[in-house]
Symmetry: D3
Subunit: 270 residues, 6 copies
Amino acid sequence: MTHFNRILITGAAGRLGIELRKGLAHLATHVRISDRVELADVQPNEEAVVCELGDYEAVMVLTKDVDAIVHFGGAPLEVEFETILDSNIRGSYHIYEGARKNGAKRVIYASSVHAIGYHEMEAHIDADSPVRPDSLYGVSKNFVENLSRLYWDKFGIESLCLRIFSSFPEPADRRMLWSWLSFADCVQYVERALVAPRLGHTIGHGLSDNRLKVVDDSKAGHIGFHPKDSAEPFRDAMEAKTDAPDPNAASVKYIGGWFCELGHPDDEGK
Amino acid sequence: MTHFNRILITGAAGRLGIELRKGLAHLATHVRISDRVELADVQPNEEAVVCELGDYEAVMVLTKDVDAIVHFGGAPLEVEFETILDSNIRGSYHIYEGARKNGAKRVIYASSVHAIGYHEMEAHIDADSPVRPDSLYGVSKNFVENLSRLYWDKFGIESLCLRIFSSFPEPADRRMLWSWLSFADCVQYVERALVAPRLGHTIGHGLSDNRLKVVDDSKAGHIGFHPKDSAEPFRDAMEAKTDAPDPNAASVKYIGGWFCELGHPDDEGK
Amino acid sequence: MTHFNRILITGAAGRLGIELRKGLAHLATHVRISDRVELADVQPNEEAVVCELGDYEAVMVLTKDVDAIVHFGGAPLEVEFETILDSNIRGSYHIYEGARKNGAKRVIYASSVHAIGYHEMEAHIDADSPVRPDSLYGVSKNFVENLSRLYWDKFGIESLCLRIFSSFPEPADRRMLWSWLSFADCVQYVERALVAPRLGHTIGHGLSDNRLKVVDDSKAGHIGFHPKDSAEPFRDAMEAKTDAPDPNAASVKYIGGWFCELGHPDDEGK
Amino acid sequence: MTHFNRILITGAAGRLGIELRKGLAHLATHVRISDRVELADVQPNEEAVVCELGDYEAVMVLTKDVDAIVHFGGAPLEVEFETILDSNIRGSYHIYEGARKNGAKRVIYASSVHAIGYHEMEAHIDADSPVRPDSLYGVSKNFVENLSRLYWDKFGIESLCLRIFSSFPEPADRRMLWSWLSFADCVQYVERALVAPRLGHTIGHGLSDNRLKVVDDSKAGHIGFHPKDSAEPFRDAMEAKTDAPDPNAASVKYIGGWFCELGHPDDEGK
Amino acid sequence: MTHFNRILITGAAGRLGIELRKGLAHLATHVRISDRVELADVQPNEEAVVCELGDYEAVMVLTKDVDAIVHFGGAPLEVEFETILDSNIRGSYHIYEGARKNGAKRVIYASSVHAIGYHEMEAHIDADSPVRPDSLYGVSKNFVENLSRLYWDKFGIESLCLRIFSSFPEPADRRMLWSWLSFADCVQYVERALVAPRLGHTIGHGLSDNRLKVVDDSKAGHIGFHPKDSAEPFRDAMEAKTDAPDPNAASVKYIGGWFCELGHPDDEGK
Amino acid sequence: MTHFNRILITGAAGRLGIELRKGLAHLATHVRISDRVELADVQPNEEAVVCELGDYEAVMVLTKDVDAIVHFGGAPLEVEFETILDSNIRGSYHIYEGARKNGAKRVIYASSVHAIGYHEMEAHIDADSPVRPDSLYGVSKNFVENLSRLYWDKFGIESLCLRIFSSFPEPADRRMLWSWLSFADCVQYVERALVAPRLGHTIGHGLSDNRLKVVDDSKAGHIGFHPKDSAEPFRDAMEAKTDAPDPNAASVKYIGGWFCELGHPDDEGK
């Protein structure tokens, strides 16, 4: 398997970042890990860096001498616009600039179902369907998908934009019976993208092998991701403790789930 | 799994109706079963009703207090137009009106390959392809598919129109080596549609996991149907006792099979 | 131009029927005209027949010795189901049976925007898009479109199903500023379909050359229809006397217009 | 024609803003005009406001009591990221927030060919094709297209995102012989979008009726734009004074023109 | 307009070649003209060369010092395979090799409707539709379309493959009322392709502005061809002297016309 | 399973021909095997014929009394044009003529990935995508695909054009980790095509069940091919002995692999 000298993982203190550190360690001699908060349990092969992605100079240093970047940092939820602007939009721009200036050639970006959340469940979209963000957070994911396309077309930096659906230890609500992405499957998707012979600019949809098939990920087939997990073993317990949803609720109708029922962050708590 | 208070099964004395009664019993406290002929072997959880679907008042009573309807009643073959008009067109209209007036929110309808029978075997259509009925019977299936679309868009009643290919105890001719839908798989498809979180208006193609793949059912992926059976174990015996077909015979060329070779019902027997 | 010995026009007493009688007279030696009401102002070249299309025997006689049929008869609006069933569904079946039994080879059918009325204005559908009926009337139009497809695939009878948008002497409301089909353009479309070298089974969308272009009629390009009229000259007067519509009203959002705001005919007047 | 009480034009001191002030005056009783620089030649019906779009509070005031917004403000060229971030991304967010909070229901946004500039000339894309930004400027246009989609799906604010190709007094180079949008045609497109019965969320491609047809704008047909001008009268003079281009130059190959040959703004001047 | 030093026209003694010599003369200082037969009426700006395209060495000489090639040479009809092999397949290969070795960068090739003749009239194909040759002649046209694609992708030689429908002085049968390409329009198409800023590899469909629109040529819109002629003025006379065709005759059903009714050339005359 | 009296295998001395002789023997009483070189190890059920496919008379004899033809003969690599012309183009024409004249009704043709080699790895094409040959060899494969289409549309001879990717005993380079077709899977594909109830004219893509999925073969689903092998077990050893490829090398970027890096055969060795 392709072996890297050094890869960088951003958001490394986050739920998925912790999994990626474990799951990708075998791919590189050095793993630089970064987050805005202190990183725990640093391993001998790891280089821990506390860094705000909105700080241009810091990111230029952070991205030095890395072969590939796994960019999972940034605000992970709907929040007020200025936070999204700084951490997700400006921060991701810094990451791509760091890659360009420092010569990293491949980026795996944690995009999200919320980039396409306003598609209906029965729409069965694929990677070429128009986007339908369901939140300011989702719009910031669109931004990075488009920015990375520019960095591919103009600067030759390859990207996988992996639209993560619901990556949790196990399905946490009824919707996750179809939208779940197990940690192991998430790590596998990132790993395959790092070692694929050619990535170009690819949009992927991160879902485990759940019973319901709601999006078409075939246009990422050159990555070689094959999910191993399924939400099905969790179905009976989940259905026993929750009510059947209203099919017309926005959180069921649209693939973005409850993000489609959120108001504007400025209005929350009023 | 979603549990219903009462579901209604029409056509309950038919070949598939009998299977559905057995296979869906676990989903509901009460199962109302109906046919135009006497119903045999009525179980304690079943409410048997003899009913002509062409009788408006009777159907309004039949559909009272049901949560969901599995509508498999009506003429199952090419017959003279007035019979199709009364049992399939008027009768299905009555079922949808019953659902609307009595508040049933979900209908599973037994549509048919004959709604699309004049597509060529190598066309590989999906749920959005234009219809190509192969018979008056097929046109009546188109009618209900369209009527149910209206009842979704205007009245909010969800439907699965399940285009059943060849549902028999086992493959009965060479064509069924690709077109077979086992009873168990047919029941599974209906069951999954009843309990799916959202149906909207979905067209499904009912086929077991046969070796030859002739239509694309991916746009029903949100139902969660995964066939368990295959016609392949029946292949050797079937090929031993039948001749290889002419690839240009209408019954081979078109997915509707021998319906495409039928003349008009008025001309039959002449 | 192709000259017929005899063509049949049904619905000949209707708004459009009267125009067709005038506009198509030059195409045939004899024009048989039919309606359920008495026909006025019968010309020397015309053969007037009062006929209920729901009467099988009468239609078999009506369709004798005609080369082509212009089928504009039937209920022109949303009405209770049994009327639609008899006049539009059974009646149109009789017309196609008459064509088949009596050897007429080409039918021009007055389908309607209401066959596709639940598509959104910005959807820009074409002839292969799935249907979206907006009324029982619309479902009956779908029925004849599908029936005529069967009569083409199985019996070789060619059809144009002309989805008429709003054919009135002049635009009668704001929506007609985009949906208008002038009488002259309607007649032209039918005329071109009668004389086209090949019709096969074609779906057409009948619209004048209005400023707003809402559907794509290019798949009927082999007919050779080119609208001559436009609603634009009527715009200023119409806008002066009516208010700007709410873009989210169903009658504006969907191409079917106010049919999409109608309830079920059984509920009207309650 | 629809008449507004008050519309807002941003970027009103710009090349196109000046044209819009003249061309749209007849549509509204009051025209609020805004730019970051002093506005010249203010008319009696105009309310001039100097305003930085990156200033949230100022934009909330600017957008008060307006019925519709013509948003042409922001950096019009490739510049360093922080300028684009502030004027185009943050600034446009403020405009949409102003619309949402103050009740404006329709926005016409000056998007750009640079949102899709990396498509090849022979690709013939339409409004549903994936975006291909050719610059940071282009990525900011994608951002607003996506943001406005969110504001439509979630908050019901209609938008036309008008991808302006080359809007100049006359074609200024050979590429503009196909990419030119005359001022009059630009104004017409905006005007039609303001008065269209329904906009929903529409992507338009702003081009005059030039000889070469490079993109397909039919999915904006419900706006009713019909270009009146053409670059053709300028062809001979332009060809006389310029050399034939290299078909493989990025500025010819891609529809974004010379933006596709630009490096990163950080590298310019080095 | 782009001016060439020297262009080469093959098939210059043919029906269309003679028109091209007249119509393209203004584009180049020198026009080399070639055919397998003696060329008549050679003009001062013309260099006449008698040449068999199947002769490799001769073609290498023929293609020296030319900037662009208008390749209309080869057998123009269905003939026995060895003739097609030599003149159309080997001959066209020689032309492309000549272009490659001698540095001509653009080729306009006379392809034909017979490359796609087995598509039905109501199919409304475009440049990306699969080919359907109707003759060995048509297969040789496919060959050159594919060969020229290779020479674009691998060697950077641009081509227009212009599928000529029926280019005659005037429509010669009923089918040409829709399939006619006037000489002037044919010359215009070639001219525009020679001077277009970028050709890449383009498939064009050569038709005048006839009433019936049977194929979609929009993917060649970057060429800037706009037909000026129409077959319509010839309609009345043509219809007066010919019978209406059978819509199901292969020559009407398929766009290739009577080529679809031809048997194999080996069988002709038997 | 369908049993033939006699099938013909061309190219029977080749790498795949030898496998086909073993794998298809059970399907026919007699297997005629042919090559331009002496055939070794002839079995009792085999009829060995040494034959140049470019020899018309010889091929007419070769194709006598056969029910089906497995046409794997011809030059298997990029070579100078005249060899390709004679063996692949003329030779395949002779095979189809032999089928037509002698009444063989089904041909399985060894097409190649090189017919579509210039598609990018992330393009995910299917059987209806435009061809992109990567070599003169590839153009000859296009030729036979088109010729066979003619022989289906006009003469009723069914074909599978099987685009073989990389059929070797085991993966021989890194690319074959996704492009490999095991011998057993190759034989299975041919076998299924011989016995399928209907072939019509089908394009297939021959790939084993490798981890990376690069093309979509679903439009050949009516053949019933299901690969049993995978290149995955060979991955570790292959990656251990080879370097990771450059994603932008033509041999990685395009699915045709190193054929896309070949120059013209005339230039090789210079």
